[in-house]
């Protein structure tokens, strides 16, 4: 165990300028908003109506990007957690908080839009199909991760315990995948169509790409804002400590 030299109220962190919002952030947020609107325009109006599913298929332009970008953000959480355990870096922990929250929000969009689409198309709100189940399980595990953070005090303790739990989530996902696939193959499955990518019209593909771009931009904006907020919170804590020392 190494001596704790850094993170002290006398360390360089407290004398440095507080983390400024980068000047490009408002621009970036504006581009994100525009992209989101354009993606909605593409999904609702520009893309052609699908032949068999009708307008219900349009939810797909939100549903799929939210899921894939959400998983990508969870992967960032994993990397940040590993980094925290290796280096005890508060920046890594700030990124872990941000990515867990953004990922939970994105997967929630996915999990809500899914049943809305499934009801008219499949005739059921939900099915315990392997992909759905795994998505739900990962979402649940990250909600637990956030609850754990809520219940542990803001100190060295919280990032450490959260990172440890993130490791368990990471290892649990492939095991879950195995279990759920085998579990589902033993049960009757609803008849699915031949996959959405089977012969996607160019206009539809374009709308989907715009959707991806919008959600990537949204995730990046939210991550940046939340990351900075968490850094500032830590900063305030250090300054309060510095003042407590000076008293």
């Amino acid at each position: 165990m190494k001596q704790t030299e850094t993170a002290g109220p006398t360390g360089p962190a407290s004398t440095a300028a507080p983390p400024q919002a980068p000047p490009w952030l408002p621009w970036w947020a504006g581009v994100t908003a525009a992209l989101m609107l354009y993606a909605l325009y593409q999904a609702w109006i520009a893309a052609p109506t699908e032949a068999t599913m009708g307008i219900y298929q349009r939810i797909f332009y939100v549903h799929v990007p939210a899921a894939l970008v959400g998983f990508g953000v969870f992967f960032i959480n994993l990397m940040a957690s590993v980094w925290y355990l290796a280096r005890r870096s508060r920046a890594a922990d700030a990124m872990a908080v941000a990515s867990a929250e953004v990922g939970v929000a994105l997967l929630a969009i996915n999990l809500i839009t899914g049943p809305i689409w499934a009801k008219p198309i499949w005739g059921i709100w939900w099915t315990w199909d392997a992909r759905l189940t795994l998505t739900l399980v990962i979402w649940i595990m990250y909600v637990s991760y956030l609850v754990l953070r809520q219940f542990t005090p803001h100190s060295e303790l919280q990032p450490r315990l959260a990172a440890a739990y993130a490791m368990f989530i990471f290892v649990a996902v492939p095991v879950d995948y195995m279990a759920i696939r085998w579990w589902r193959t033993q049960h009757p499955q609803p008849v699915l169509f031949g996959g959405p990518h089977a012969g996607l019209a160019p206009a539809m593909l374009y709308a989907l790409c715009v959707g991806f771009a919008a959600y990537i931009a949204l995730a990046a904006t939210l991550l940046r804002l939340r990351y900075r907020q968490e850094q500032l919170r830590h900063k305030i804590e250090l300054q309060r400590r510095a003042r407590a020392l000076a008293e």
């Binding site: 190494k2 993170a7 002290g8 109220p9 006398t10 407590a244 020392l245």
Partner: protein, 236 residues
Amino acid sequence: MSTAPISPAHSAAGGHQLPTGAEAPGGSCLVECRNLSRFFGDFAALRRVDLRLPAGQLLMLLGPNGAGKSTLLRVLAGALRPSSGQVWIGGFGWGTPEARRLTGFLAHESLLHPKLTVAENLRYYATLHGAAADAAARSLRRVGGEHLAHLRVSALSQGMRQKATLARCLLHAPRVLLLDEPFASLDRATVSDLRRLLVELRDGGMTMIASTHTPEVLADLANAELLMERGRVRCT
């Protein structure tokens, strides 16, 4: 009372040069901390405490409630992590197994499980510390508590419990003994028993830091004293 071995908070480490990094020279300083602070949230329980304690000294830690005495002892014992600053026990950095092996800690709580007998508790701790199989029995004999071995901790009186706790602190033969209010709520006979034991330990070369609210009980045993106030070392 001998010369105070503690360097005041603002003076640089006198005597010899300390290398940077986790390893401090063993030298004669058994307990050393530099610029040690500990926070609970925003609250500073310890503020830049500097301390150097040579081997064989008994340091008396004084100060009002909330002065940081218990926090200092808990950090030195390795039960709390320093928020910043450095600690060495016998030249080993804070939290290293070597530093833990050198330290015995008598805390507010006994750290003995009430449902187990004294002997069972001590044997468990002997295993945790890698002490010899008979260390528990010998340590109990050392504090004059052989008759307690087969009593459950929940059945012990305050005085008996404190003896059993001291046996726990001594069973791995530490070089440094940290005592948090060792005489709190003890009767006269037990206090004099414990005092006798502390004298023996001190004369045997044990380095000790004891916090207390009743300096008169410890004053004649201590070689040095340290007054703490609001997380700071006030005077030595």
